[in-house]
């Protein structure tokens, strides 16, 4: 599935992989439910480590980080391994996401 708007694109075209591009600054965690629903389904149906690639996501607001954390909680509840591919040259990715590993021991945050 591909969700494309003027600001962001979410590509969940491969099994076990999802890519998010652009800028996501939606008004509340609730408003992320719809665009993140294919990722949630992907995690639930994953047959191997599920990968979320945000290396080309320029902005994500605190509501988005909250929603990303909730996806990690889904992975923990489903006992699915998760890998978050990040871009250390984007400051908020380098600074804001490391604490998410506290939510799930099988979450790997990997800079690429």
């Amino acid at each position: 599935m591909i969700i494309k708007t003027d600001d962001y694109t979410i590509e969940c075209t491969d099994l076990n992989l999802c890519k998010i591009f652009g800028s996501m600054r939606l008004p509340s965690p609730l408003s992320y439910n719809q665009p993140f629903s294919p990722i949630k389904s992907g995690i639930e149906d994953a047959t191997d480590t599920y990968i979320i690639d945000i290396t080309e996501l320029k902005y994500l607001n605190s509501s988005g980080i909250t929603s990303l954390a909730r996806l990690i909680i889904v992975a923990r509840k489903e006992n699915k391994e998760l890998r978050l591919l990040i871009n250390n040259s984007i400051p908020w990715q380098k600074r804001s996401l490391s604490s998410l590993t506290a939510l799930w021991e099988k979450l790997e945050i990997k800079p690429v």
Binding site: D7, Y59, N61, S63, I65, R70, P91, S96, S99, L103
Partner: protein
């Protein structure tokens, strides 16, 4: 959308940036918050350091979202200022909040000043109502090694609130 924007670069080490805005103008289209943040970040990073554009935009956006989502008296002028001196940078936001919101913010700020704040980040932190406010405070204090000071005084049944973020120059 942006009522008044003034920028003064006193010299290489001192910059004053001041933005006055009326949140009502942003409420009508949520995207304006992001556009305004990007616009201000673009200008300020051009003066300061181009590599800071993403950081400025992230910080400004969180503060503008705070105003649009939680602010009261939205037809009154709000103010966002950036003041850089030799050693540190200070971002000050003046907005209007309900007393209960200020109380909630104070609880979060107090919690974030404790050493074990990061260790205590758990599922509850991300699943409570207005969890994004906690994430914002976390970003300011932990990630930018910032200090938050909060001052408030009564204003038309709400509180005129001033949030001061002091960020060490090296952290930026």
């Amino acid at each position: 959308m942006l009522e008044l924007l003034t920028i003064q670069q006193m010299n290489k080490e001192n910059t004053i940036f001041n933005l006055t805005f009326i949140p009502t103008n942003m409420v009508s289209a949520w995207k304006r918050t992001s556009l305004s943040s990007n616009f201000c970040a673009l200008i300020l990073s051009h003066i300061e350091n181009k590599s800071l554009e993403n950081t400025f935009s992230t910080l400004f956006n969180e503060l503008l979202e705070l105003c649009v989502k939680f602010g009261e008296n939205k037809d009154s002028p709000y103010n966002l200022a950036f003041n850089k001196s030799k050693k540190e940078s200070e971002i000050t936001l003046k907005l209007y909040l309900k007393p209960t919101q200020v109380k909630q913010l104070k609880v979060l700020i107090n919690a974030s000043s404790k050493k074990n704040f990061i260790e205590n980040i758990n599922e509850k932190f991300f699943t409570t109502e207005f969890a994004e406010l906690g994430v914002s405070v976390y970003n300011f204090t932990q990630l930018f090694n910032g200090k938050i000071n909060l001052h408030d005084k009564p204003y038309k049944g709400n509180l005129e609130t001033e949030i001061q973020l002091t960020i060490n120059k090296e952290t930026l």
